[in-house]
Symmetry: C2
Subunit: 148 residues, 2 copies
């Protein structure tokens, strides 16, 4: 008897698809409720990182957001233009540019995060808080394991 593997029971596909679906939900909510105009997923990803820790280098952002260095460069060009962040060349090592949130950038946290957190209402039907908790914890640990 051959056991046919279920392609859907694979973390790669599950995370990617659920991730995109949730992103789309957030994007839709933002538009509906006239939220902030920064809709690019990468923009938000970078901001999220900066909310956790300020003053990191572009390279660090590239690693944690899992984007190319070049992509981060261009993302920051935009965020800087929008007065959400500033680039400061590191005194002691002029290769590094440290990224800091502006006042406007910090404010954005309170406006944006609720959308990201509440995007799951409705999606979690039939899922207990405990299960959800485990799921998030596992994902967080996977992230830590994989981020090198």
């Amino acid at each position: 008897m051959t056991i046919k593997s279920d392609p859907y029971d694979s973390l790669v596909f599950l995370t990617n698809r659920v991730g995109r679906l949730l992103s789309n939900e957030v994007r839709k909510k933002l538009e509906e409720e006239g939220g902030p105009q920064i809709l690019q997923t990468t923009h938000i990803g970078v901001l999220v990182d900066l909310w956790v820790q300020d003053g990191v280098r572009q390279q660090d952002l590239a690693v944690s957001t899992i984007k190319d260095k070049g992509t981060i460069t261009r993302t920051l060009n935009f965020l800087e233009q929008e007065n959400l962040v500033v680039r400061v060349t590191d005194r002691s090592d002029k290769r590094n540019k440290r990224i800091y949130l502006t006042h406007k950038g910090k404010e954005m946290e309170h406006r944006l995060l609720p959308y990201a957190e509440h995007a799951t209402v409705g999606a979690t039907d039939g899922i207990s808080p405990e299960e959800l908790r485990v799921c998030k914890d596992v994902l967080a640990r996977l992230y830590k394991n994989l981020i090198k």
Copy 2:
């Protein structure tokens, strides 16, 4: 006392980042071990869907893979060119094009899936099988809930 929300404890960010990390792992493994030359994530996503069910319409693929119709059109142009799938115009409704795997396309399943499934070794350090099981189940239910 104000409780600072943790941006990382959000399903949107966790799934997206873990998803990308895992995709990159699979891509790397494929290259290292001289696997199939189809590296595009979208290509693989479409194939996965077809392994689950053959003969669906492009529109169905767009929904389940969460990609734009246009993207699916172009993805199928490629897969058809590679002799992995064929498009068959539906007799009873000429708007529909049914997508079928070729022999080569079916073969690919056995070659590709192991990469996707085993990509998690090393990543799951410190995570029990039970926890992983719950995580996958939750993700699967989220997917079903969100896919409309």
